[in-house]
Symmetry: D2
Subunit: 143 residues, 4 copies
C-alpha cells in the first residue's frame, strides 16, 4: 500500500514593521511576496537545504515562475502573521506550493506559487536535486 | 452604432537599479509588482487622477484584490523596461487590468491585476468615482 | 548617590533573504536601515511600547532625524545577523542610539541614529512620552 | 594656471509611489538611500559608465562605505523630488559625494556618501578606473 505524501503545512512567523506598510496604513501588496519567500526559504532550510549552498554545490537556483495571490484582509503595523507553506505538486523541474498569510485564525492572503529549478549560470531548466525530491516525499519531510 | 472602448495600452519606462536586483543577479520577483504599481499610478495620473487627491477629496483608495503574474524572462541591472497597462474590464467597484513588463520586444512578465475601490477609513467596497469610469470609457481616455 | 543608566545593549536576530541582497551578491546598503529599524521596534516593544498604540493613544510617532552608518564587512544570503540597540543619549524630544549589525563576532555595520518624537498629525516636535523616558532610565529597562 | 573641478551638480527626478511610503503617511527613511543610489547610477551613466559593464569589463564594483543623512522635511505620495549628486572629493579608491533630495526649493534630506571601488570577486579595494577619474576631472564631466 503506497505511502501518501503527508508533509504537514510549514509555518513561519512574520512581524510587520514600518518598512512593510504604505501610506494607506496597510501592508503594501508586493511585500506579501517577500513574506512568502521568507517562509519558503525557512521551509527549504528545515528540509536541510540552504539556497547559497545549493548554488555553490549544485550550481542551481530555485526561481519563481508563476504566482497567483488573493488579498482578502489587510495587515497593519505591529501585526504578527503566520505564513504557511504546503506542497501541492512536485515535478522533475518544478514545485507548486500553496502559501497563506494569517493573523491568528484570520486568512489575510493566499497564493499558489510555481517554482522552477534552473542552472545558476545559464538559467536553463534543471532537474530538482534528488535530495530535495526525496525530502519532500518523506513522511517526515526529512531524507 | 456604439463606440467601442478603444483606450490604447499605456506604457511607462522603468530603469533597473541595484535596489531591484537580488543575489541571483536578476530582478527580484516581488519588484515587478512595484513596477506594475508605478505604471498604474502614472496611468491614473495621465487620466487626471492623483491618488493622494482621490483620498483627500473623495475618501477612497484603490487597492489590489488579486494578482496573477507569469515570470517569463529575467531582467538585470541597468536594463530599461517598458511597463504597460491595459484595461480588461470595469465594474462598479473593481477594475481588471492586464499589465506587462517588456525589454524592447521581449516579454519579461505579464499579469492580470484586479483593483478594488474602498473607503479609506473603513476599507469597505465603494463605487469607483464616476469621473474615473467616464475617463476610462472615453475613446481618448480623457473625460 | 545617583543610579547610573545601565540598560544593557538589546539584540535582535535578522536572517538574510533574497529580498535583502542585490546583484553584487551582498546585502543592499539601504536594507541595513530596515534591520536597524526592526531592532529598534523590538527594543521599544520589549520596553512595553508598541508604535501603533503610541500613535493611537498618545498621538505621537517616533521618526528618524539623522543617521550615520559605516559599512565595514558585507553580509550575504542565508547569513544570520544580530542587530543591537544601545541608548547613547536621551533628551526631551530626541533619543540618540548606537546600533550595530554583527555576524557572530564580526562587526558588519555600525551606526548612530537620532530619533525625534513628533505629533502624528502635524509632525511638530513633541516631548517623548514620560513612560518611555522612565523605562529608559530604569536599570532594568522596565517602568 | 590649474583648471578647477567645475562639475556642476547633477539632478535626477524621483516620483514618490506607494512602495516608497509607510503607515506614517511619509516616505520611509531607508528609501532615500534608494533615491540617492538611483541618482548616482544615472550620474555615472551620464559620465559614460554603466555599472554592469564596469563589472563585466573591468571586474570592479562601486560600493558604499559610509553614509550620513539628515532628514529635514518629509516627502509624501505623488510628490516629485529632485535628487542631486555633487562630487566633494576623489581619491585613488574612493569618491565622496554630497547628495540631496528636494521638492521644488524645499530641501527634504541631505547626505554625504563615501563610495569605494572594489574587485567584484574579492571585494578588496581597487583603484577607480582611470576613465572615471578623468571624466570627473573634466570641466564638462565628459572624458
Amino acid at each position: 500500500m503506497p505511502r501518501k505524501m503527508t508533509l504537514a503545512a510549514f509555518s513561519h512567523p512574520v512581524r510587520i514593521y514600518w518598512e512593510d506598510t504604505d501610506a494607506g496604513g496597510l501592508v503594501y501588496y508586493a511585500n506579501y511576496l517577500k513574506f512568502f519567500e521568507r517562509a519558503r526559504s525557512e521551509w527549504l532550510r528545515a528540509l536541510g537545504f540552504g539556497q547559497q549552498r545549493l548554488r555553490d554545490e549544485q550550481g542551481v537556483m530555485i526561481v519563481v515562475a508563476d504566482t497567483s495571490v488573493r488579498y482578502l484582509q489587510p495587515a497593519r503595523l505591529d501585526d504578527e502573521l503566520d505564513v504557511t507553506v504546503a506542497l501541492s505538486a512536485a515535478a522533475r523541474a518544478t514545485l507548486t506550493l500553496t502559501q497563506s498569510a494569517l493573523r491568528g485564525a484570520t486568512l489575510l492572503a493566499d497564493s499558489r506559487i510555481t517554482l522552477a529549478c534552473v542552472a545558476a549560470a545559464s538559467l536553463r531548466p534543471r532537474r530538482l536535486p534528488r535530495a530535495i525530491l526525496d525530502a519532500l516525499a518523506s513522511p517526515t519531510g526529512r531524507p
